[in-house]
Amino acid sequence: MNAAAPRPRVAALALAVGLVLADSSVVVLALPEIYRELDTSVAGVTWVLISFNLVMALAAVPAALVARRVGPGRAASVGLAIFAGAGLACGVSDHLSTLIVARCVQALGGALAVTAALELLPATVGSERRATLVWASAGATGAALGPAVGGLLTELVSWQSIFLIQIPISLAAAVPILAVARHEQATGIIEPELRRTGKPHLWANLALAMVSAAIAAALFLLVLLLIEGWRLSPIEAAIVVSVMPLAALVGSRLGNYVESARARAAAGAIFVSGGLGGLALLPSAEVAVTVPPQILVGLGLSLVLSALTETALGGRAPQAIHGGWTISARHAGVVLGLLALTPIFTHEIAEQRKDAINAGTAVILDSPVEPLLKIKLTQKVTDRLDEEKGKVPTIGPAFEPLPDDPRERAETIQLREELQDQLNRGATHAFSSSFALAALLGLLALIPIALSRRIEL
């Protein structure tokens, strides 16, 4: 018996999954804003991201067990309510520690909602396989869309709005599910279509973790590069990174034409690594050069995430538990990726900043402008660097006002451009090692993908 019309219920479940899994990456573009507003460090602000993913990784399987025990309808409704309530707490946080605690609670609610949704979907869409496809696609879409949506909200409203807007969306998704909760007896028992294997699919989940680490790095590092390195506003960065979800849409269409989950997973991992390789080798500090790598990452992430999720869930029951394992693997991968790469790129940023400042000073010293102006410029640029401690500075104001004499003016403008070029080089190069390591991680995921060949959908 259906407690609600299937179509709104499918939409509500997909929305719930997309919303929760988008939350893993939605704050990425807001991190620089949070970093400034809450006066913390780069390493500290990454915990806004890490805490959510860590709790999701730890809570997904226990949440699935709870969902099966209390009934998936009830679990999903309660999960969404917790998610919304914690979202409110995130939105009103004025301190990093309270924000991180609220994010942890949000992840608990999210884990409950996502795993319960997977338990509800087969009865709603008619088969486990279709349920898996809807669930995996909603998750991949949410993860891909998250940063762009978060960036738009940060720029147009505030970083707090990212969390506050989740409240009505969560409640809207909860309404059709509440009807299921009321009829839990009728929808709570799902006949598994295929064999019961019990154990989680080790290789698919391991590959999911590795690929998720690489994808998280791609999103997180690219956003930091655009905002902190190249000084784009969050809305500009959101427009730039929206290339990835657009490519992901194409990727999911492409995946429909290929039956083999292993081939889709392998191609996806290669695309992700190729894109990350491109990001590690950016030949200039221009937005346009990030587009081709982003297309590859976007294509790859939709192919690999859905293929590996299907493989991990295929033929396994109960779906919620195995879905919990995939959630756990994905978010553990994100956490490991961030924890491993954060110290590397923070160290690199500091090093490259130093090199860029020295290179910039050399540009000033070797320029044809007269010596006293050189010293004055060096002093003003040094002051700018001190004002923007730890970040890549914009040095334009150090050159204001420009000299009146046309020759001196032209020399000063050229000098400013050369100096900015050195800073751009430093900012871009600071991320290269981390992108390269993430690319390597994506390639290493091919090993468990190859080992997962015995179980094909």
Binding site: L254, Y257, V258, E259, S260, R262, A263, R264, A266, A267, G268, I270, F271, S273, G274, G275, G277, G278, A280, L281, L282, P283, S284, V289, P292, P293, L296, G300, L303, Q352, D355, A356, I357, N358, A359, G360, T361, A362, L365, D366, P368, E370, P371, L372, I375, T378, Q379, T382, Q422, L423, R425, G426, T428, H429, S432
Partner: protein, 171 residues
């Protein structure tokens, strides 16, 4: 070729093409230029004017002082911009005023040597100028490094009436 193989091969080809194109476009070397070793002399360009000589003397003096202190020329230049910057530099590198003065004087001497070797200063001027910079006090030495042209001006004042000959002796 099956669709599955086509997809995998396509992903490999596109990924390698992107990496190859970015490598060819200089992606591997897109980084800030490294600071030069200040102990290695830089080539002198043919100076056209007194100001250009002064610029090169100033840079050469910075190199010489930085070489003696074991820092880059750029670090030293930033340290000399203000007194606060100098204090921070002194604290960070454990360099007191006496050591800094000694290094800058050595740098100025090297600058005069470099200028003489490059034919930018006549030996008639280089000799007394060298003697002059060897004993110049720290604050004045810093000002001389900051604006090489003031080195010539200060030296002209130091020479008194004979200073008028200076312009004629410069190339």
């Amino acid at each position: 070729m099956t669709r599955a193989r086509l997809l995998v091969v396509g992903s490999i080809v596109l990924s390698l093409a992107l990496v190859g194109i970015y490598l060819a476009a200089g992606g591997a070397s897109y980084a800030p230029e490294k600071s030069q070793n200040p102990c290695k002399p830089r080539p002198w360009t043919n100076p056209d004017s007194l100001q250009e000589i002064a610029q090169q003397i100033s840079l050469s003096a910075l190199d010489g002082a930085a070489c003696q202190l074991g820092v880059t020329r750029e670090t030293l230049a930033r340290a000399l911009t203000t007194e606060e910057a100098r204090d921070r530099f002194a604290k960070r590198y454990g360099i007191d005023d006496a050591k800094l003065a000694e290094a800058i004087q050595a740098g100025l001497v090297r600058a005069v040597d470099d200028a003489e070797n490059a034919g930018a200063l006549s030996p008639l001027i280089a000799g007394p100028l060298r003697g002059f910079v060897e004993d110049v006090p720290l604050d004045q030495a810093i000002e001389l490094v900051k604006g090489g042209s003031s080195l010539v001006g200060t030296f002209r004042n130091f020479l008194g009436p004979a200073g008028d000959l200076l312009e004629q002796l410069l190339p």
